[in-house]
Amino acid sequence: MKSKFMNTFEAISKFFSKVSAFLKSDKLKKMFMGHGAGRGIIGKIIIYILLIGISYVFLFPIIRMIALSFMTRNDLLSPEITWIPSSLTFNNFVVSNHVLQLLPPSWTASNLSFWARVTGTFTNPGNLFKSLLNMTILATIQTVIAAFTGFAFARYNFRFKKTLFVLLLLSFIIPLPMVTIPRIMMISNLQENIWIPIYDALFANNFLSGFFSRALFSTLVPQVLFALFGQGINSAILVLIFYNFFKMIPLALDEAARIDGATSLQVFWHIYVKLVVPIILIVFLFSFIWNWNDIYTATIFYQSGNPLVVMRLSLFDSVFADQAPGAPGDVGIGLISEGYKSAATFLAILPLLILYLVAQKQFIEGIERTGMTGE
């Protein structure tokens, strides 16, 4: 006869054996560990922690920059405040907008009628609108030329096709400084021998002199030339994007149009271009941001008076020092603070951030389908 004690002992040992059986079984292991890495709960938690941590490191400079750009001088110096400023102030933005000359001056000036502000926008549109306009010109030209080149590579079997394709890839690999010096000399020759005589003969002494500049190196002309001949910034990648998309379009469409008597240009326009309108947008966006961030070409070929916002940002410190009020001997640069710098940086990348948030799908798709991987 079993005692009560034995009964309870058996019940407990049964329970334990059940629990240990459950613990040993694959069910629990599967629940936590999964079959492969990252399938079970533990794996997933690790993946999330890693990804969120790295995302934080990715975004840290930007978040820090935004926080700093709202801080006053006192906030910056105070050891208690690291992230959230004590009061909301836009003074930093006003100052850095003034130094960078982003918005049209007529917008911020006081005592102007509404009409004067509107006309002032056109007479002096400020660096932001100027660089938007310039980059749109460059990006449009680059997109059109890339489409032509991509079309030729995708649809025709002409002689030396393979050689030219290899040269296309090489033109991406060759470091840009390697080809810069002869380019400078070419543009300089162009300016001395062709442009200045024309300018002096036609524009110098009449009302047109305001529209044209005598020196090519302080205009967009060199960059437009490079874009026009398919050698702008990262042009090879843009050509590759078009090449891969054009190759996806079935050849039968092309042939059908040709049998109906379409010329090559008509085939290009009515079949290829109209089918890849989203891709044109992708290429345009890439060309736009690459040109916007292309400080190298801007520094060398468009040095004086370049309205490009990024270029202005690189001069921010010195311009600030010039404009800051100070007694003689007191260096203006002493007044500069991280608040002003951060605000200026924030303003400089704000257009790109907006563009990215609106069109992020296109950007990622564009890189995914460049076909740079493998094919």
Partner: protein
Amino acid sequence: MTKVKRRKTKSQNVAYIFLLPWLIGLVFFILYPFLNTIWLSLNAVSKDVYGWTYQFIGMENYITAFFRNSEFNQLVVGFVMMELTYIPMILIISLILAILLNSNIKFRSGFRLIFFFPVVVMSGPVMTQLRSSNTMQLMDISELLIFRMIDNISPFFSNMLINIFDNFTLILWFTGIPIILFLNGLQKIDKSLYEAASIDGANSWQMLWKIMLPNLKSTGLVVGIYTVVQIAIFEVNPIYSFVVGTINSNYTNGLGFAAAVVLVYSVIVLTFVALIFLILRTKDDTKYEDTIKEKQQKHIAKINRQQLRKMRDEETLKEWFDRVFKRKKKVDGDKS
């Protein structure tokens, strides 16, 4: 008589019209400058009222760069160090992130959005400003005990470490495009490969090494070359500002020296590209063993060729004339 219209085969040379702008650009803005830079680096170039004048001075510009200029050597070393530390880091981090993103998780597009955004905003001045406000540093490791130990053993290695930790965010920001490319490469791998491997009892660690990495090699090649080129032209790297400064300040006389500097810089970049190509190219290792029959045929063909050559060496002018003439006649006869 009715006119028979024959369909002509379309001439493919229309392509050259579409290619024309790019071809002109290739010749005038890539090929010619490429060769011209090499030539310029051996010359003293100066500009006066009449135009550019060249004077051949041999290797003088290079001697100036390496032995008379006090900072160039250091910058070259710094640049090589930077490429050496950054490229493996960028490749490995982007590969890890791509594999993490490739697993079955939620908010994947959200993470992708975050990882890709530096591509859009990254430019020299922005990075310079962000660095100046000290936001790029992961943590200050120079006070850690383990770091001091490493520093005692090898200052070179510790320099590399401190470089990595100081610019960790910068390195991360370079991974935007590589992550997308790796992710794309991962998604192209056939799912049945994984299934077959798991049936054979492979765990995910083995799958990573045996399936994922070999299949990602070609993507790795593209990513590697892209990264080298990106870093080379980026404003944060030490030699960049020297190159730009040399070009801009020596504008009227001294472009020859600038060309020499640029050439050294380009050779470094191209060496790195070649290295990556050698490491990451996909080798075609399959060798085709000839069967005995093929070997025999090859041998017979070889003997035939030798005989023919011998015959032709010995033949007289008349025989040669007959042979060529007869063959021509035969062809004519076929045509009619």
